[in-house]
Amino acid sequence: MSDVLVVAELAEGAVAKPTLELLTLARRIGTPVAVVFGSAAPIAAKLGEYGAARILEVTDPAIEEYLVAPKAEALAQLATSAGASAVLISSGAEGKEVAGRLAVKLGSGLITDATDIGSDGSTVQSVFAGNWTVKASVTRGTPVITVKPNAVAPEAASAEGVVESVSVTISDAAKGARIVNIEPKQASGRPELTEAAIVVSGGRGTGGDFAPVESLADALGAAVGASRAAVDSGWYPHAYQVGQTGKTVSPQLYVAAGISGAIQHRAGMQTSKAIVVVNKDPEAPIFALADLGVVGDLHTLLPALTKEIAARKS
């Protein structure tokens, strides 16, 4: 079987879960070959455990110093030299941009935000705020596909995972957008929003007080999300925004507290497996999506629920 390049990502020093999902999907269409930007040593064992036959380590300094373009250039060279039959990248702002540039370089078709890949290489996507499902295939070149987190449950399948240090040539044209400063953000200590099994989100109805939302999230081991209204009001950081211009999530359980359910928000959470809604306004459009809806005040309901969960745990 031919090589399928999988771009590995790290989260807090370990392999990010979406990378394990990509390896699992890659096995359906070929032999997974992981590409690691930076040192592969800390994650090589895990990549091998999930099926990476080879691990290509790229340590060119340009990759850290310039935005997006060097990664695309490196991948184009690796895909060509390996004769890869596809390149899989996690859907995220950077992943999609790398994929776009890579598709131009390879003269290949591009599919973004796939939620599944079949053994024939065809993909499934969810579009128009989750209201339509699209089945598509790349018809030219080396398919470049970005895949959403939670597309598949990661399955281990031991492979050799041999690390090969590879050198790439980064052109001056790829060194145009200089990263001149990096301000790290404080980690929340909660699961990553797009990967979490449960998400608890707050909106305008919180009135700016996210404490009940955060407490319930912690009781459930959930990530915290926010609607655009809450973010625009400055109540919660944009990194946590669920919706069209924020993150798209598809957890097992989504709890929407004090969120009315504008299209902008629904676009980001409509494909959640189960949806629970708490809102004072019985007319809120979000109730149409609810598996369980409670008409009531989140400021009393959420703390009471949190207390009840804590009581059950002890």
């Binding site: 598709a103 131009v104 339509w132 990096i182 301000e183 211009t245 369980l292 409670v294 009840e308």
Partner: protein, 260 residues
């Protein structure tokens, strides 16, 4: 100084959206408009124009006749002119072909700076700005939550999950801005009246030297095999919280689903 702002005409996200028989986006079913996310790009260009002398802002679109509405909006907001690439052979173009057409039109216009929105509100791939930069061989300073221009250097702040990056590039460059970059202005009455007199240049593929066989549905490098509407969600249970009944229902639901 010349700025090109890329704008897209999209179906209204609050209306019915779907696919036509050839599996392309149905642009007849509902009214279209300037993609909301492109308004932020127009706004950033206009702010640069407001602050500087002799800054020309050109709105560029690729799309059918109706896409003139997207251009009109950009002109009403304050853009000085527009370019509309209009050709029947463009219908069904994928992101690769679209970015090639945009890049060709940009080359012809010779701007100092290209500003795009972060993504369209219909396709929402978010790849076209990076593709344009790739095709032009210009720096791509994309997804700016802020945008500053100082002489011939453009600086953006790009927020990721783990960090806030400061990214700089020398002109000519392609930038994209997010919805965090600042509220877009509404057209004033003066702007609406002035827009009618502003120049709109219509270009064909031939004008851009693009072979029609390389764009459009048949030339797309991806093939949509099937489009299926999501079945309507079955109405769930809705309870009104009285005397703690809400918490009872929540606990029951969460434990039935083994979430707690």
């Amino acid at each position: 100084m010349k700025i090109v702002v890329c704008v897209k005409y999209v179906p209204d996200a609050t209306g019915e959206r779907g696919f036509a028989d050839d599996n392309t986006v149905d642009r007849e079913a509902s009214d279209g408009l300037l993609s909301e996310l492109d308004e932020y790009a127009v706004e950033q260009a206009l702010q640069i124009a407001d602050a500087g002398d002799d800054v020309e802002v050109i709105a560029l679109t690729v799309g059918p006749d109706d896409a003139a509405d997207a251009i009109k909006r950009a002109l009403q907001m304050g853009a000085s002119g527009a370019i509309h690439v209009l050709d029947d052979d463009i219908h069904g173009s994928d992101s690769l072909a679209t970015s090639a057409i945009l890049a060709a039109a940009i080359k012809r216009a010779e701007p100092d700076l290209v500003i795009c929105g972060m993504a369209s509100t219909d396709g929402s791939m978010g790849v076209v700005p990076a593709m344009i930069a790739e095709r032009l061989g210009w720096p791509g300073a994309t997804l700016g939550a802020t945008l500053e221009l100082d002489g011939s250097t453009v600086t953006i702040r790009r927020d990721t999950d783990v960090a806030s990056l400061t990214v700089q590039a020398d002109l000519p460059a392609v930038v994209s801005v997010t919805d965090q970059s600042g509220e877009a202005r509404y057209p004033s009455m003066k702007g609406i009246l002035a827009a009618k007199k502003k120049p709109v240049e219509e270009l064909s593929l031939d004008d851009l030297g693009i072979d029609p066989a390389e764009v459009g549905l048949d030339a797309a490098w991806t093939k949509v095999e099937q489009t299926v509407p999501r079945p309507p969600k079955e109405a769930g249970k809705v309870v009104t919280d009285e005397d703690g009944s809400g918490v009872g229902a929540l606990v029951e639901f969460l434990s039935a689903g083994k979430y707690i």
